[in-house]
Amino acid sequence: MKRTALFLSLFLILFPLFSAERFALKAKRVVTVSGAPMEGGVLLINKGRIERVLSYQDPLPEGYPLVEFKEGTVYPGLINLYSSLGITGVGWGSVWNDSKEVGNLNPQLSTFSAFYPWSNLLPIVRSFGTLTVLVAPNGGAVSGRASLMKTSGWNPDEMVLERDAALIVQLIDKRPAREKETMAPAPSKRTKEVREFLQASRVYSLRACAGEKQAYSPLYEATRFLWEKKRPVIFAANTVEEIREAIKISQEFAIPGVLLGAYEGEKLLPEIRLSGLPVILSSLYEGNHKWEEGYDMVYRLPGLLEKSEIPFAFSFYSSANAFDFPVQAGRAVAYGLSREGAVKALTMTPARIMGLKDRGSIDVGSWADLIVLDGDLLEGTTKVLAVFCEGKRIQGMDYFQREAERASRRESGE
């Protein structure tokens, strides 16, 4: 017994030294996002979290091996709230596509259940700085449940932050343009369906919580988390009508709604602001604008949201090109968004929309999800120097790097 205690105490004393759990990350610039950027900063990291934030002048405490980036800028890891990472692979084929199911009401679907962490795409996206993704389904009206995942880890269980993080609801009228023109405006059928579903789901949850007997429903059972954990419903809504409906539904059911897309949002800025609903923007590369809207419709919306003080986050659905996530955000800066606003919408705002308090900004107590760049985050010329996921530095090469290395040797095989 005594011996065990001795070993245990020895282990506890020595463990931090062996595991290099503690280190100091020193860089030319630290963009904390929650506060002003620091010129010259040192982050003390302990057990995956940021223990202290020091300036260059502060003395370095003992026991923190120094990891220094003389020309590096540290940012919090990026957070993408509408992603198909892990559920889509190569191209258009259904073989690799697990994002879109048949059927209209599919809350029983969970992206976690199909998340494929061994995809080539995942390490690429991670080595370009995205450390947290909300993996979202995109079929039907009620598409399914989105899972909040880390991009580091070996298997889905290690990577999951929250299995049922949000419900994805599509209010977008996906009928072909020709039909839309000839038929009366009919997103009403879809919203009616969504309303009925949410109503039934709420009643089911209330009864279940009250211990009342009722027939088991896989659909309503799957959405109990909405009411019992107060998790958000993300409404894909682009037109004025769709956005208004999303706001109305959120209010009717007193659920924390989030707008996804909000393409025509600039026509409804006061209403969106008043509703308190945050916005997740679709990739700025996806603009299929109409001539009357002006060529910069997609690019100017983020700046307008910022001016209206509507919280918003960027997103990038394509899993293959999601490494362009920060660069596409830079387009919004060209058309009116502040640089700080763009960085915030890639990090802190998405974290807060999902209720993550210890990611998305560099604060004492936050997870050390950090990326070190050789320049500005929003520039396509910038290179990533290092990536830390919960304090652990990513070491291996991603597919892109491996492939280039292999070609330079002109050797086939791994």
Binding site: V90, A320, N321, V327, G330, R331, G380, A407
Partner: protein
Amino acid sequence: MKKLMPCLWILLLLAALNLPGEDLLLRKGRFYTFDRGILEGYDMLILNGKIRSIAKGIVNPGKVPERDLKGFSVVPGLIDSHNHIALAGEINEVSENITPEIDMAEQINPDDPNIYYCLTGGVTMVHLLHGSANPIGGRNVTVKLKWGESAEAMIERRALPTLKLALGENPKTATGGKSFPITRMGVAASIRTAFSQALEYRKGWEEWRREAKGRKKAPPSPKRNLRLEVLLEVLEGKRVVRCHTYRAEESLELMRIAKEYGFKIQGFEHFHQAYRIADELAKEKIGLSVFADSWNYKAEASEFTPYGFALLREKGVEISLNSDLSEAMRRLNIEAGKMVRYADMERMEALKTVTLNPARLLGTDKYVGSLVVGKDADLAVFDGDPLSPTSKCCLTIIEGKVYFDREEDLRSRSVKRVEEKEATR
């Protein structure tokens, strides 16, 4: 003859009045030249659509309209070396698989709004290609984006005549497996067969000419074949090949075919696996017209690395970036910036991937692609670093004429809004 003289004079006068291009004096800009570096606070004089001089404090030769560009960056108009806009959406003649008689110049739609959207990204010249459904598709056309003018006026006739070829998935699957070819073997065989037929055709004519020579009554001539005559242009070096490909083994095969028949592959399109045969491409001096990093959208596009551009650059393969119609045509400058990241290029070198390199690929580098006295005044003006996503194009000029002006665009929108309000009142 005397009677004709006045007519001739009038014609000459008309020609003089109709001189291409306009006059413009740009003041105090930041000019990105490849031979003299970045010239800060310089002026540029444009006469008749050509760059006349780039210097400090140019004296206005008289009544040339001026524009103050203080704080703005002026770069050569961007060139998109592979695009399909303004073709009325019809870019594939899928009814047959060898169709070089098709000419994209015959179906330019000058009213396609994409022309304007391209201009908003600083693009001034695009190479419009036949699609990739056929092993041998159609003849392509290079145009300048003279929005508001006729299709005829847009065509850039000084560009190299090109022919589209395509390998891999697209020609394999164009007819859904209903007709030959549905394999890469079939694609290669189709191309070989077509060029062999062209050679046979030429032989037929040569024989006929020999027989007909000096004879009073010539024997009946062979029938003309417009399809094969285009292939003869390629074999005689009057037209170059631009070939769509993704995988390296199919490109190597086309390089063999080109050697066998003696034609020039000017550039490979998309070519995600180019880095695998960097040495071979460099040796044959074949250019690339590619995306910076868009990939994985189909099986053959799933083997790729953007860092491969470092290898290609090291070996001396010239890289041009293209948009292939997607909205990327509005951000080619950002894609160029990524070459700093992926290929360790200097910034100026990166800028060349959307200006001078595609100009060379299209055989138009004598006239466009850099800010050099004597070249066409095709310019893109950005409000900041031209390689940054955080700056925007504000002005696009072709041959001295402004075809996109952001301020003008915003003004016309607000006028329209006022008109709409009044109309509803």
